[in-house]
């Protein structure tokens, strides 16, 4: 008898603060399995391996069958959390002589309101002034050398950092985006004099002009490098051991890490550009939701990922999440391209409190998972959003399908106390807390669309994550949204998203030139160089040449503007016609974004600023299966309970449905509560939920005539 064909299973694994979410995909049968395990913050690799073990077991493989794993994609918050917690180890900064105070000066702006400059206290700089050293040598903006690199000074600086025991260094010289030579010579000197140093060069992290932002991005990259490398290498080693022997030269089981730009990169490469992982988790969620919504027939989608402490929202058009290079993580700016995710301080643990003015506020402070909401009974002392939900009956009195009971009485006591301070009934207080939270989310969703000149009412909303769907009916009402989509397994959308993304690397080169003075062959040459770099990386990742694809873009502006607009460069050779086409696209995109352009005005010259190439290595995406529609009859109720939707209407007897019982085609009319493992959809009166053939719950307002 022939040995059975070995199975090929690809795994997406998203490590969050509380849970590690796992999705496994059988590349041959198309079977998709999801699960969760507790995260292990002490050593995240333990939770990671436990998750792999568990999901393989669910796929019917006996324990230890790591050889069935064809690839693993991982979303991590190691770098994110390090930055959010501000746990940056001692760093050194090497810059051009004369610019040693760059971090003290920053961009001179004071956050928030007028008058704050009088009392604002600047946060600590990422590198204190005495750990900044200048080195002579100067380039101009074309990359030409104005003064030679001061090798002696470089050596002195390298020895000094070694003597001080500073082993993590960022290097940013003026105009290094145009010519990396001085930075590379600095690295060579460091390699000789201070071989233990971990070094990030600005010309490798971000070849883009604006020295302060590039320096900060480089320093953030250096800051997270030691910890992220150790983490990734540790997991890679454990995974290789688990997955067993692989053919020589294959480099072991393919292990990818999710990047903020919506692509993945192999573990071997990602340790050299750790800053690209800072929004790993939210990016995977946005991508997963985007794919699910697209398959369900929605092209313009807002995603809303609600967790324990916050909710992440993003805009997706035609399956592509919008990207930004103006992002930041905690106090640290990052100019690396990342999916434009806006975080609102509205999650299950967000605290309701009274301001000194006597106003009821909700968030952004959170009780987190520990001590957590009052109803967790773990020592929480403040009313949270989860307490309001459980008090009103919107969520069941237990978590995760019954594994963890909730203390409803504790929630009630807290809400009654808060309500008496406000002179409200407890129901009005609890619905009020949720209403304020819904408006906070609604305002964030409005702002992400207005920023791009879009109208929020043209979008379908996709809600997922543990708390993402709880207020969806209120969001429909407040924002005037046509539709909300709740994907199946809403707690695992980020892990699912990890299975849907290609390998992607971004390369950028600032090349400032007026369009009139631009030589097509120069542009072609720069793009070719960037494409070569991308090709080399894709080949290293194991993609044969015929699978490589490249996206070429350019950032243009009108001469005199201080901001750029990104447009695609047509495929094929770069000739004058191609340049003209880019300019045409620029005018059109400028109008789309800002409402005007200067296409017909010869006095307004177009200027090219950055050239970009993304190298993409495609992977096989799991197919979202279509299920036959049933006859639409509602299934048996799992139970009924008293739920309060409107304080004025009090508690109403409400059916509770189990989501897994809802066949495609089922239509449910509110009021109803739809529960599943780790997530709940409260369907308010006046709303209708329909299960589509991809098992999504699609919520709309009940049509007038059918009420």
């Amino acid at each position: 008898m022939a040995p059975p064909t070995p199975r090929r299973i690809r795994i997406g694994i998203d490590t969050g603060g509380t849970f590690t979410d796992v999705v496994a995909f059988d590349e041959d049968s198309g079977e998709l399995v999801t699960t969760k395990t507790p995260s292990t913050p002490g050593n995240p690799a333990d939770g990671f391996m436990a998750g792999i073990d568990k999901v393989l077991g669910l796929m019917g493989l006996p324990a230890g069958h790591g050889d069935a794993i064809s690839a693993v994609s991982h979303g991590t918050t190691v770098a994110t959390n390090q930055l959010l917690e501000g746990k940056v180890d001692r760093l050194g900064f090497v810059t051009t002589a004369g610019y040693e105070a760059m971090l003290e000066i920053a961009r001179q702006s004071v956050p928030d309101g007028y008058g704050n400059s009088y009392f604002w206290v600047k946060p600590e700089r990422i590198v204190p002034r005495h750990l900044v050293k200048g080195v002579g040598g100067r380039l101009d903006f074309t990359g030409a050398e104005v003064r030679p690199f001061d090798e002696d000074a470089a050596r002195t600086v390298a020895r000094w950092f070694k003597a001080q025991g500073i082993n993590t260094l960022g290097v940013c010289f003026l105009h290094a985006y145009a010519n990396p030579e001085h930075e590379e010579r600095m690295r060579a000197v460091l390699a000789e004099e201070h071989p233990d140093a971990v070094v990030s060069l600005s010309s490798e992290v971000l070849r883009e002009y604006r020295e302060y932002e590039r320096a900060m991005t480089t320093l953030v990259d250096a800051a997270v490098k030691p910890r992220l490398s150790a983490y990734v290498n540790n997991i890679k080693a454990r995974l290789s051991e688990f997955a067993g022997e692989r053919p020589a030269g294959s480099g072991g089981v393919p292990f990818y890490v999710m990047k903020s730009n919506g692509g993945v990169l192999s573990a071997d490469e990602v340790v050299h550009q750790p800053i690209t992982t800072v929004l790993s988790g939210p990016a995977a969620g946005a991508l997963g939701a985007a794919l699910i919504a697209r398959v369900a027939g929605f092209d313009k989608v807002l995603t809303s990922d609600g967790g324990g402490t916050s909710t992440d929202v993003s805009v997706v058009i035609d399956g592509d999440p919008t990207l930004t290079t103006e992002g930041s993580v905690g106090a640290f700016p990052s100019k690396i391209p990342m999916i434009d995710v806006v975080t609102v301080g509205a999650g299950g643990g967000s605290i309701a409190w009274l301001s000194p003015e006597g106003t009821l506020k909700v968030g952004p402070q959170s009780a987190g998972a520990d001590p957590g909401p009052l109803c967790y009974g773990k020592g929480g002392t403040e009313v949270t959003i989860t307490d309001a939900h459980v008090f009103l009956g919107r969520i069941p009195p237990h978590l995760l399908g019954g594994e963890i009971p909730l203390d409803v009485q504790a929630a009630r006591d807290g809400i009654e106390q808060l309500a008496s301070k406000l002179g409200l009934s407890p129901e009005a207080c609890a619905t009020g807390i949720l209403e304020i939270s819904a408006w906070n989310q609604a305002n964030a969703l409005r702002q992400v669309t207005v920023k791009r000149g879009l109208d929020v009412r043209d979008f379908a909303l996709t809600t997922f994550g543990g708390s993402g769907s709880l207020l969806l009916c209120r969001l429909v009402d407040v924002l005037g949204l046509p539709t909300v989509l709740v994907p199946p397994n809403p707690g695992n959308v980020s892990a699912f998203g990890l299975l849907t993304v290609d390998v992607k690397n971004d390369y950028v080169q600032t090349h400032v030139s007026l369009a009139d003075a631009l030589d097509p062959s120069t542009v072609g040459g720069v793009l070719d160089t960037l494409t070569e770099q991308a090709t080399e990386a894709l080949t290293k990742e194991g993609f044969p040449a015929e699978q490589h694809s490249f996206v070429r873009t350019a950032d243009l502006r009108y001469f005199g503007q201080a901001f750029e607009v990104r447009v695609a460069v047509p495929d094929g050779p770069v000739d004058q016609a191609a340049l003209d086409e880019v300019a045409r696209r620029f005018h059109a995109e400028h109008t789309a974004l800002y409402g005007y352009d200067f296409a017909g005005d010869p006095a307004q010259q177009v200027e090219w600023v950055n050239l970009r190439v993304s190298g993409i290595g495609p992977i096989q995406r799991p197919e979202i299966r279509r299920h036959p529609l049933g006859d639409g009859t509602a299934p048996a109720e799992k139970g009924r309970r008293q739920v309060c939707f409107e304080a004025a209407d009090g508690y109403v007897d409400t059916p509770v449905l189990w989501r897994a019982d809802l066949a495609p085609g089922t239509v449910v009319t509110g009021p109803a509560i739809i529960e599943e493992f780790g997530s709940t959809v409260p369907l308010h009166p006046g709303f209708t939920a329909r299960v589509d053939e991809f098992l999504n719950i699609v919520v709309t307002r009940t049509a007038e005539e059918s009420i």
Binding site: I105, Q108, S109, G113, G115, Y118, R210, L360, A428, I436
Partner: protein, 660 residues
């Protein structure tokens, strides 16, 4: 000077009736409430939702303007603001300053406004004090709500932005030697720019015809009008959702809570009594440098005062109006613009910097402040057509005058002085022969606080940014050889003032340098024993054969290719006696190149040991103690204005008002 003399005097002046006495500025629109109980019965949940929505609409309007406007001053320097006002013209939002709706409501009765109307004005003397100079173009849109047939004005969305050119004697419409407003550009009193949705083409073409940048003027106006109309629709939806009365009750609650909060957390910090202080602009662009006095007499009334518990700010003693453009029209509509402009300074009295940042300044502060103005003809009460384009010399300084007079009342628990706005630039032809103008607003150091040192190189306008070297070198024919901090520029103190910039620009081609700056003779003052910072200073060819100083008001100083321009901006004033500063912090400041070793000894009495070069810098504690003990008692003046004061004050070391 009051041009709207038909206004109703709310409270008769309480001072003795004499021609020289200060008086309140009459207003047609006294402060009041929309609901009988001033919002006391508003639903606390709705109050929070309404307040969050107002903040969101304001941000959406500003985002839309930022997206679609075209002037660099608006787009890059963020010199624009939106505001939301109710039908009593009260400002509801509080992150920033804004213009007033009063001039629009004065000239166009609210009952006669129609949906789709857009009002426009930039005329300083017809703005009720809400517009300071002509380049600030202001658009006002009424918000309508209510059932069909009964729709009426319920609020206003307003925005103003600093446009790059509105005509006048010079490009940019800010002639530093103007002697009348007619040299400063086109004045437009309140007009109905859109009539029920129809733009007035004639008005638009007159305005664009008068600008050197007609296309971007038109685009900026479009941006402001469409953004405000969008905001008005959004706000209208809020009224339609909850009902006009309910939302107006929330407005009352929002404003009443600000009043209560300021009474509880701010007013309570100032004892009952009266204090006086003054500060100065040093030149006006026309006359030789002199002291242009701005004076405030601050009275804090008792809780049982018949006219209420409040602060009275009397500007009597302020200098006559200047010939040059540093005047500000303040004495209109009961001074409500200046009240909201100055009130943010009072936030420094809150308990912690975090709490200061939380406090909004909306119309709720108005009942707590009474303003009294000197008779027409002063810096704050200029008579038409006195020029005003550089009025920041006065209104920014007034922030400091208020900080200083309050400091006298609260034993110095206020920040020392800062100066963060000035224009510097170079212009000429670039290497390809194209004309260029590089103009930038460089900030300065903030003053020391009783809880922290001042911060280096910051700016008072939120989001205003400096220009990256990698941007300017690609655009203009110069090299920024260094961009650093001006060592020793921060005033010495127990809490040191923040440092100003030291920027070295080497020209690659012959060019001209320009500068519009105050505080080049006088310095940012220190308080409670803290010393003044260093003033603004521009030097061409420092250390070279042609070294020369440039005046702070310079239109066209020639610079040769190869020469370096060194710009040093103001350091903030120090707070508290520098001899009380922790010597370890002085050592750190020397290591950080913020204080020179010489100043460590001279200003702080710290005897250093070791050397900077081999990282062995430290201090000798015993010698430092002896050194400090040997110093004479410090002067008893509560403020230090720096050596420049004597230069303009006939040798006096301090002003009469500088003593407690």
């Amino acid at each position: 000077m009051c041009t709207s003399s038909t206004g109703v005097v709310v409270t008769p002046p309480t001072a003795t009736e004499a021609d020289t006495a200060s008086r309140r500025a009459p207003t047609q629109f006294p402060f009041g409430h929309l609901t009988a109980d001033a919002g006391a019965s508003a639903d606390p949940v709705l109050v929070e939702i309404v307040q969050g929505s107002l903040a969101s609409v304001e941000m959406e309007v500003e985002t839309a303007i930022g997206r679609t406007s075209r002037s660099p001053m608006i787009r890059d320097a963020h010199d624009f603001r939106a505001g939301i006002h109710d039908r009593l013209l009260r400002k509801l939002t509080g992150r920033s300053y804004s213009a007033l709706v009063h001039p629009v409501a004065r000239d166009f009765p609210i009952e006669e406004m129609r949906e789709g109307d857009v009002f426009f004005h930039n005329d300083v003397y017809r703005s009720e004090g809400g517009i300071g100079h002509l380049p600030d173009l202001c658009v006002t849109v009424p918000v309508f709500a209510g059932p069909e047939g009964e729709r009426r004005v319920v609020a206003f969305v307003q925005a103003f932005g600093h446009h790059d050119d509105i005509g006048g004697a010079v490009p940019g419409s800010m002639p530093s030697n103007a002697t009348s407003v007619f040299e400063e550009g086109l004045m437009v009193p309140p007009i109905r720019l859109w009539d029920a949705g129809v733009p007035n083409r004639a008005a638009l073409s007159i305005m664009t015809r008068n600008s050197r940048m007609p296309e971007s003027l038109a685009a900026d106006l479009d941006a402001e009008c469409s953004a405000c109309l969008m905001g008005a629709r959004r706000l209208g939806e809020l009224f339609d959702r909850y009902g006009v009365e309910t939302v107006e009750s929330c407005f009352d609650a929002i404003i009443e809570r600000t009043t209560t909060t300021y009474r509880r957390e701010i007013l309570s910090k100032i004892p009952v009594g009266e204090w006086v202080w003054e500060d100065y602009a040093e030149h006006d662009g026309v006359d030789e440098p002199m002291l242009h006095t701005q004076r405030i007499t601050l009275t804090r009334t008792a809780a049982d005062d018949p006219d209420g518990e409040r602060l009275i700010l009397d500007f009597g003693g302020t200098s006559p109006q200047a010939k040059g453009p540093i005047n500000h029209c303040g004495d209109y509509s009961d001074g409500v613009f200046l009240k909201k402009w100055l009130a943010p300074i009072l936030r420094n009295l809150a308990d912690t910097p975090e709490r200061m940042a939380e406090l909004d300044v909306n119309e709720g502060i108005v009942p707590l402040i009474e303003m009294r103005f000197p008779p027409p003809g002063t810096l704050l009460t200029p008579v038409f057509p006195a020029p005003t384009n550089a009025r920041t010399f006065v209104i920014l300084r007034l922030l400091g005058v208020l900080a200083g007079v309050v400091a006298k009342a609260v034993d110095g628990r206020m920040p020392a002085d800062q100066e963060t706005i000035r224009y510097t630039g170079v212009y000429g032809e670039d290497l390809e022969g194209r004309p260029y103008l590089m103009r930038e607003v460089l900030g300065g150091g903030s003053g020391g606080r009783y809880y922290a040192d001042g911060e280096d190189t910051i700016h008072v306008v939120p989001d205003s940014r400096n220009l990256p070297t990698e941007f300017t070198e690609a655009r203009f024919p110069f090299r920024v050889e260094s961009l650093g901090l001006a060592m020793d520029s921060g005033g010495a103190g127990q809490f040191r003032g923040g440092l100003g910039y030291e920027k070295h620009i080497r020209m690659l081609k012959d060019a001209h340098f320009m500068s519009i700056a105050d505080r080049s003779i006088l310095a940012c003052w220190g308080v409670k024993g803290g010393l003044a910072g260093r003033p603004f200073q521009v030097t061409i060819d420092p250390g070279g054969p042609d070294e020369r100083e440039v005046d702070a008001l310079a239109d066209a100083e020639p610079i040769k290719a190869g020469e370096v321009v060194r710009i040093r901006t103001t350091g903030g004033g120090g707070w508290g006696n520098p001899l009380d500063r922790d010597p370890e912090l002085v050592v750190r400041d020397v290591v950080w190149r913020k204080v020179s070793p010489e100043a460590a000894l001279a200003d702080y009495g710290v005897v250093l040991t070791g050397s900077l070069e081999d990282d062995s810098l430290g201090h000798d504690a015993a010698a430092t103690q002896a050194e400090r003990a040997s110093r004479p008692e410090p002067t008893e003046a509560f403020f230090d204005r720096g050596p420049g004061y004597a230069h303009l004050a006939a040798g006096a070391a301090a002003a009469d008002v500088d003593w407690l």
